[in-house]
Symmetry: C2
DNA sequence: GCAAAAGTGTTAAAAGTACACCCATGG
DNA sequence: CCATGGGTGTACTTTTAACACTTTTGC
């Protein structure tokens, strides 16, 4: 499962989006589902997740992490299926390269149609984890490009947490965390004071 | 994998322990390993974990949670094995009922012999998760019995976190969290003021 | 100049920390 | 009465939150 940022319904703010694939076979033919696929005998779990994501969406995310393993007996009507789910975050520039075809489409994470299998639950679980993790881990950076302003970063946090954050306090908290550093460059073009640009500085 | 409390090397304090099984077959014959077993076609992942724990150790833990799924290609020398690892916490009274045989033994979690497969890594990962989770979740209660004193609870926290906690502040934090409630009874027998007994009050 | 967002300063509330000190029991 | 841990009080520090205010750009 991949999360990325897109324009929200109103337009001004960002919102979480994720790519879905339309099922062309039974069961759940015609429904939307999370991208996925089989585990090869000679590849690690993470490698298999990367490969399946790339084959279905054309994306090669930088951030990839195991989410949870779902194995209820009745998940699939036919046979027993155990899904080891990974989730990924893609940067804005990466998401632009993503394929959008008849059977692959990005949709807003908080307003999805009913999905195939138990994929609704999986998305809900992933959203909860993302909301929890963004509070203590610098993963929000993974949704932005190489350079970004603090307002853009704050916009990511607000999209994930679904609440407004105080710009002044947000700035101080991020600066104190040491997870970003200024590039020395500024972003011109807005009709206001040009904001400083930062880059992510992940601890080595 | 099961965590429980036992007497520490010094004796006065508690320490985390976990039951291991000695392998009677190749590979890693004679080495100690985590209890585990196959997943049946008609049981959920959690059910399978419970069943395997019970069959090897005789324990039926109340707290059980999925830890992580390990699937590196070279985990097992022979065939590809994917392990969906669950971890459990048992209360002191439950742990007493556990079988201890020639091939099943409780050992201190922070001083284990080299284990079979990648089980050293799995234990290390679980310990890290336990230490992280105890700070924001009332998980430590699951290691104690029905009634317990705040000193016993603090002892659990100290065993997990491996550092001393201020008794006065610990009391206030736990009481403010609302996760315990006094039973009205007291524990007599110590040669000091009898401490109040509490029970766990997990949010419904 | 004005609107808008960047960025700084200040203050109050809340949470966390350290430690002094009284309480109740067994021996 | 004394040692021991239970339990309370309090002062101090750090963190978090709220919001006023100054700065710099486009138009």
């Amino acid at each position: 499962m991949i999360f990325g940022l897109g324009a929200s319904a109103e337009g001004s703010r960002s919102a979480l989006q994720l790519p879905l694939v339309r099922r062309v076979r039974e069961p759940y033919r015609g429904r939307w589902a999370l991208p996925g696929g089989p585990l090869g005998a000679t590849e690690s779990l993470a490698d298999a997740a990367r490969r399946n994501l790339f084959e279905t969406t054309g994306l090669a995310p930088r951030y990839l992490e195991q989410l949870y393993t779902f194995g209820a007996v009745e998940r699939s009507p036919d046979e027993r299926v155990v899904s080891i789910v990974y989730w990924a975050l893609v940067r804005a520039d990466e998401a632009d390269q993503a394929r959008t075809t008849e059977n692959v489409r990005w949709m807003p994470a908080d307003d999805l149609p009913p999905l195939a299998f138990d994929h609704d639950e999986i998305v809900a679980y992933a959203l909860g984890r993302l909301r929890g993790k963004v509070e203590y881990s610098p993963i929000a950076h993974a949704l932005l490009g190489e350079e970004f302003t603090l307002a853009e970063l704050r916009d990511v946090y607000e999209a994930v947490l679904r609440r407004a954050l105080d710009p002044a306090n947000f700035r101080r908290q991020i600066e104190a965390s040491g997870t970003v550093e200024p590039t020395g460059r500024f972003l011109a073009g807005g009709r206001h004071r040009p904001p400083r640009l930062y880059r992510s500085r992940v601890a080595p």
